[in-house]
Assembly symmetry: C2
Homo-oligomer: 450 residues x 2
C-alpha cells in the first residue's frame, strides 16, 4: 500500500472530524505510526522516537476533543522536533558524535509551548551536524537514492513521507526552504527572531526556528500556537496573528527574483516557475522582475553574494562553542566545522562588524520593495533533490531570505519527473501573516478548491 | 592588617612590574588569596573556588611574562565569574536551589576567551537567583551589616574587598552599576549585545555582560580581550577598541539627569554629585540638565517609567525557562520568580510587542543627545549600601541605562560616612571606547595624577 504510506497527514483538515467524533487524534496518530512502521527503516527520518509517550498524549487529546475542549487547534497534532532542539523525554544529539545520546533534561521554549498546546511529540528528527552541512542518514522518501535536503532533513522526510503532520526546523542558510522542496512538503521560515529559540542549538543571528508541515494551515497553526506561549527571541518581534490561518488575499503585484540560483537551475525548473508566472499574470497579477524594474535589479545584485556573506557571519558567531568542542575532541567535529572554526579564528570583531553592516545594506534595499510588491517569488531549489546523500544539495535559492531575515514559505506546487520541487514566496519582516494570506491565494489559483 | 585586606588589586597597574620582573602574577595572586583567606568567611563573595587551578594558571602566566611573551595585557589577572556564567571546572549554581552544584561541563564564551587571554579564574562569585533579586549570602566588605548590592553581589564584594582584580557581572536592571557603587569598585555595563553571552543564563533583551574591576583600565582590558576572542552576541555590534585603554578626553558638554532616583536620593548623595558638577563646570565643562535643556527634560520624562517597563519586558522574556522550573519544582523558585512567571503568563505577544515599541521610543529620544553631549552623568545609587542583606537595594539610578542599552560606567568617586558611592556615566550605543575616554578625563579631574 505504497499510496497509503505516502499519504500526507494535514492535521488542520482533520479537526472538524475530531470535533464531530468521526475520528480521534489517536486514530490520526496511528495512521502516522503506520507510515513510520512501514518506511522508517529505509528513510531514517528519526534520531529518537517516543511512541508510548505519543500514544498517551494522543489519548489525552482525543478525550479533550471528545469533550469539546481542545487545548488549541493543534491539540493532538503529531509533530517531530529537529534534533538540535531540546526535549526532556528524548536525547538531543545535534547530529554530532559529541552529543550522541545526550539528555539535557529540559524542553526548549518551543517544545514546552507545543506540549502546553496539546501537540503530540512523536520523536526527534535527524539534523545535519549542528544544523549545518554534514548530513545524517536520512533518505528522500520519494526516491531513496536522493538526499532529503538539510539541515532539517528528518522533519522534511517525515512530513513528506506522511509520518507526521509537522516537524520543527531551523534555517540559517537554506535548512527549511530547501528540504521542504526536496521532500514535497510545506516549509515556513518566519521573520528572524519571531519564534523563541531558547533551548535550541541555533544561535546565529540570521537563523530562525520554523516548521515543515503537511499544509499551509498546519504551518500557520504550529507557529501561532508556539508564539502565543513562548513568544519570539528576546528583543524581537514575536510571531502574531489569528487562531485560524489568515484569509487568502490575491496579490496585485509580485516581484520575481532569479537570485544567484538561476544560473544553476535546470531548464525544467526554470520552465516550471516561468509557466506559473504566466498563469499568475493571466490571473491579473503584475509581475516585476530584472529588466522591468530597476529596483529588482538592484536587489538581484545585492543578494548575489548572500552565501559567502552568510557563511562569514555564521563562522564568527560560531567561534564559540566550536572552539570548546575542538578543544574537547577535535576528531568528533566534521571537516566542515573545523574549517568554519579556522575561518572564525582568522577574523576580528572589526571584520564581523563590517559584515553586519553589509547585511544591513541589503536588508534596507529589500525593504524598499514593501508597498511596491505584495510578495517576492522564486524557486526553492535549482532542481529536484539530487542523487546521493553525502550532500544536502545547493541552498542558493534559500539563502537570500535567510540573509534578509524575512519570512519565507516553500510551497509544494511543481513536479519534475515525478519528484517534487517547491515555489518559494518571501514576504517582508514582521508581515508573516500577510505572507500566509498571499500564499493561500496562490495555492488557490494553482489548485482551485472545487 | 585591615588596610592590607582592603587594598584594591588593580592589575593593569602591575604589568610594568611583571615585565620588569620585580613581582610575578603568582605573587599578585597570592596577595588576592591572602585577602580571600582573611575575609571570605565573613564576606561570602564566592559560590566556588578553584585555588589550585588558579595557582597553576598564575605560574604559567608568570613564566610567560618572564619570557616577555604574555598572551595579553590580562595574562595572569585574577578574576571571578558571576555564578550564572558557565565554567567547565566549577559548578554553575545560578543562585538557585534548582542548580546548586550543577556542573555543565563547559566554559561560557567569555570564560573561554578569558582563559585564552591567560586570565586566572579564581572562583565563581555569588549571584542573586537567576541574576535577579533574591539575594545570596554575600555581605558588603566595607560594613558587614550592609548589602553588597546585586545581582552581581559576589563580583562586587570580591573586587571591593581586594580579593580579585575583576569579576564578570551581568546587568538587566541595575546589577553591575549598583553593586559597584555599594562596594566602591569600578563597574562597566557595555552597549547591549557587545559582549557574547553564550553559555550564560542571561538572555533578556536588555541584559548585558560586563565587568566589575579595581580600575578603569582593568574594566577596559577585560572587555577588550574577551571581545577579541568571543565577540558580542550574534547580530550585535561587538565591543571594539585599542589594546590599551583609550586616552582621556575632556568632555565639552555633559548632560546631568536626575532620573526617577532623585526623589529618593539622600541629601548627602545629592550634595556629592552637585559638588562634583560644580567642579566640572569650574573646569570649563558645560552641564545641561532639566530646566536648562528641554531635550534633557524630555528624556527625564521618558525614563521615569524605566523600571516597570523593564520588568514587564523581562517577565515575558523569562516565561521560558521559568515555566520549566515551576513545572519541575515550584518550591525551589523564590516568590519573586513565581510572581514574574505569573506576570508573564498573563501577557500576550501583542503586549510584549507594544512594550518593545515603547522602549524603542525612549532609545530614539536618548539618541538625540548624541553630538549635543559627550556623555550623561547621574548617581549610581540613591545612597550608600543600605543595612540588611535581605534586599540588594534600589536599582532606580541604574535601570535607565539598562533600558536604553547604552554603555554605563560606575566610578568610585564619592564617600559618605566612610562608605562608597559611585558616579554613573552613560554614553551612546557602540561608543563604548569614547565613554572610557571621557571617564578617564573625569577621574583625572577629580584625582589629578601627580
Amino acid at each position: 500500500m505504497a499510496t497509503m504510506q505516502f499519504r500526507s497527514k494535514p492535521f488542520a483538515a482533520a479537526t472538524s472530524a475530531f470535533r464531530a467524533g468521526t475520528i480521534t487524534p489517536r486514530d490520526f496518530l496511528e495512521d502516522c505510526l503506520a507510515a513510520i512502521a512501514a518506511r522508517e527503516d529505509e528513510v531514517h527520518a528519526f534520531a529518537a522516537l517516543n511512541l508510548a509517550g505519543a500514544r498517551h498524549q494522543a489519548d489525552l487529546a482525543s478525550a479533550r476533543w471528545r469533550e469539546g475542549r481542545p487545548l488549541s487547534p493543534i491539540d493532538g497534532m503529531p509533530i517531530g522536533i529537529k534534533d538540535v532542539i531540546e526535549t526532556a523525554d528524548m536525547p538531543t544529539g545535534m547530529g554530532s558524535p559529541l552529543f550522541e545520546g545526550t539528555m539535557t533534561g529540559r524542553d526548549a521554549a518551543s517544545v514546552f509551548a507545543l506540549r502546553e498546546a496539546g501537540a503530540v511529540i512523536v520523536g526527534k528528527t535527524v539534523t545535519c551536524e549542528f544544523a549545518a552541512t554534514e548530513p545524517g542518514p536520512t533518505r528522500n522518501p520519494h526516491d531513496l537514492r536522493r538526499t532529503p535536503g538539510g539541515s532539517s532533513s528528518g522533519s522534511a522526510a517525515a512530513v513528506g513521507a506522511g509520518m507526521l503532520s509537522a516537524g520543527l526546523g531551523t534555517q540559517v542558510i537554506g535548512s527549511i526552504v530547501r528540504p521542504a522542496s526536496y521532500c514535497g512538503c510545506h516549509g515556513f521560515k518566519p521573520t528572524v527572531g519571531a519564534i523563541n529559540r531558547g533551548g535550541s542549538h541555533d544561535f546565529n543571528s540570521q537563523s530562525a526556528q520554523g516548521v515543515l508541515a503537511a499544509s499551509l494551515a498546519d504551518c500557520w497553526q504550529v507557529m501561532r500556537e508556539i508564539a502565543r506561549r513562548a513568544g519570539g527571541d528576546p528583543g524581537c518581534w514575536p510571531f502574531q496573528g489569528p487562531e485560524e490561518p489568515p484569509a487568502a488575499r490575491v496579490p496585485a503585484r509580485l516581484a520575481f527574483i532569479e537570485t544567484a540560483g538561476w544560473a544553476v537551475a535546470t531548464p525544467a525548473a526554470r520552465q516550471a516557475i516561468e509557466a506559473l508566472l504566466d498563469d499568475l499574470a493571466g490571473f491579473g497579477i503584475a509581475i516585476g522582475q530584472r529588466g522591468s524594474d530597476p529596483l529588482v535589479e538592484d536587489i538581484e545584485r545585492l543578494i548575489a553574494g548572500a552565501l559567502p556573506l552568510s557563511q562569514a557571519l555564521n563562522a564568527w558567531e560560531s567561534r564559540w562553542p566550536l572552539n570548546l568542542y575542538a578543544a574537547r575532541a577535535p576528531e568528533k567535529l566534521s571537516l566542515a566545522m573545523r574549517s568554519r572554526l579556522a575561518m572564525a579564528e582568522a577574523m576580528t570583531p572589526e571584520v564581523y562588524a563590517g559584515n553586519l553592516a553589509r547585511r544591513q545594506v541589503v536588508r534596507d534595499a529589500y525593504a524598499q520593495l514593501r508597498g511596491r510588491y505584495d510578495a517576492v517569488v522564486t524557486l526553492a531549489a535549482p532542481d529536484v533533490a539530487p542523487i546521493g546523500i553525502e550532500s544536502t544539495g545547493n541552498p542558493v535559492f534559500a539563502v537570500p531570505g535567510s540573509m534578509l531575515g524575512v519570512p519565507a514559505l516553500s510551497l509544494p506546487v511543481f513536479a519534475i519527473g515525478g519528484l517534487p520541487l517547491n515555489l518559494q514566496i518571501m514576504g517582508f519582516a514582521r508581515d508573516d501573516a500577510d505572507l500566509f494570506a498571499v500564499a493561500g491565494a496562490i495555492e488557490g489559483i494553482i489548485d482551485p478548491p472545487v
